[in-house]
Symmetry: C2
Subunit: 228 residues, 2 copies
C-alpha cells in the first residue's frame, strides 16, 4: 500500500441547504469570488482540514461561506466519478440540511462574492457536477417526504395545513389534492391543533398546528408510506 | 484554495458484504497478509485509483481481495472522524452488498493471507474503526428490512417462509412470531407460491415461494412499514 501518483488525494465537501418560505423551496448558493470559477454560482463547498472530522468540516465551510450556522447537517452521499472535477480528480462528500429561511441572515465569506437563496426551479448552471448533485438530492428528498416526517426545521413552529401542503407540493413539484392531504395528515396524529388561528390575514384565518414531537420522532424511527 | 499539508489526502474504500446461509447471517472478512496490520482480520478495503470511479474502485478492491465479483455494491456512508486511522488521517467510503453465500468461491488476493465468512455474532476485533463501521451498517440493515423488501440476493430463487423468517431473525437479532410474520408477508402479495415443495427433507416438506418481481420493485420504490 504505497501512496503513489495513482492514488486519489483530493477530497471536498459540498453543502445542499434547502430553505422554505412563502410556498417556495429554495437552495442556498454562493458566487465564487476567486479562482477559475470566479463569478459562477455554486454549492457552498471546500476542502477538509486535517484536524477536523468531515461533519465538522461541513459546518465550518457552510458557516464561513454563508454565515448559516448551528444547523444539523446530515451526510447525503459521496460523489466520485472519474471526470467529476476536471482537470484535477476530486471526490466530494455532499451534506444536506432543511432550514427555515427566515431564521438566517446571509453574509458571503472572504472567498465568496455573494450568497443567495435560489428557487429550486431557477437554479443556474453551476460548475463541476453541482447541478447533478443538486438533482440527486432533490430526488432523495422527494422519496424521503413520502416515508418519514420532515418539515420540523422548514416550517415555523406553528403553521397552517396549507403551509404544510405547500411544502409537500414544493418538494414534490406537483399539486396535491387538498382534502386528501388533510385527511391523511390528520389521521397520522402528527399534528396538534394549537387552538390558535393565523393573525393579520385578509382571508378567513386558518387553524395553526404544531408537530407532536413524540409522534414525529416515532414516525422518524418507524417510517410511513404517504402516497401522493 | 491551496493544497497544503493541512488538507486531507488519503481516501479509501471498505466493503461490507453480508451473506446468508443455514439461518446464519455472515460478513466477509480478509486477513491482512502484509503491513502493520499483518495477521488481523478486517473488512476488504484499499485505496482508490485516479482512473476509476468510487463505484468501480469498490468492485475492483472486493474482487481482487476476495474473488467475490459481479455483485451490486451500494454506497453506505463515508466515515471521517479525525482519529479514525492513526497515525495517518484517512477518510473511508463504505459500500455494502447482500449476497447468497453459496454463489461464491473465496480466494485471498496477493496481499491477503486468508478470506472467510464470519457469523455476525463472532466478528473479531478489527483494526482501525472497522468494528464501528460494521455495527453502523448492521443497524442500517435492521432499519432497512422494516421499510423495504430485501432478500432477493440473500436467498435462493425459491425459498420457504421459514428461510425468510430466519433471514429477518438473523438481521434483527431477535426471534419473531412465526404466524404473525407469515400473515404480514402473505398480505403484501410479495410472495408467489411456486406450487413446489422442499426436496430431501426429513420433516414435512414446506411450500417453496419466490418473490413477485414487480411487487418487489414497487415496494422498493414505495417502501412499507413492517413492525416487529
Amino acid at each position: 500500500m504505497n501512496f503513489t501518483d495513482e492514488i486519489i488525494d483530493a477530497l471536498s465537501i459540498d453543502c445542499l441547504i434547502f430553505g422554505f418560505k412563502d410556498a417556495q423551496l429554495s437552495i442556498l448558493l454562493v458566487k465564487h469570488g476567486i479562482g477559475p470559477t470566479l463569478g459562477q454560482w455554486a454549492l457552498p463547498g471546500s476542502w477538509i482540514k486535517y484536524n477536523e472530522s468531515i461533519d465538522e468540516a461541513a459546518g465550518r465551510i457552510l458557516s464561513s461561506q454563508t454565515s448559516v450556522e448551528n444547523i444539523y447537517l446530515e451526510q447525503f452521499k459521496t460523489f466520485g466519478e472519474v471526470r467529476r472535477f476536471s482537470p484535477r480528480r476530486v471526490i466530494t462528500i455532499a451534506y444536506y440540511a432543511l432550514v427555515n429561511i427566515e431564521k438566517f441572515e446571509l453574509h458571503p465569506g472572504p472567498t465568496e462574492a455573494d450568497v443567495s437563496w435560489f428557487n429550486i426551479q431557477e437554479v443556474p448552471t453551476m460548475p463541476f457536477d453541482h447541478n447533478k448533485i443538486f438533482e440527486d438530492c432533490l430526488s432523495f428528498l422527494k422519496h424521503k417526504i413520502q416515508h418519514e416526517p420532515i418539515g420540523f426545521n422548514l416550517l415555523p413552529a406553528k403553521f397552517t395545513l396549507l403551509q404544510l401542503l405547500e411544502l409537500y407540493e414544493a418538494i414534490l413539484g406537483q399539486k396535491l389534492d387538498k382534502s386528501n392531504f388533510r385527511k391523511k395528515f390528520l389521521k397520522m396524529n402528527l399534528l396538534v391543533d394549537t387552538q390558535e388561528r393565523q393573525q393579520d390575514v385578509s382571508h378567513r384565518a386558518a387553524t395553526l398546528y404544531r408537530f407532536d414531537e413524540s409522534v414525529y420522532n416515532k414516525l422518524l424511527e418507524k417510517g410511513f408510506t404517504f402516497e401522493v
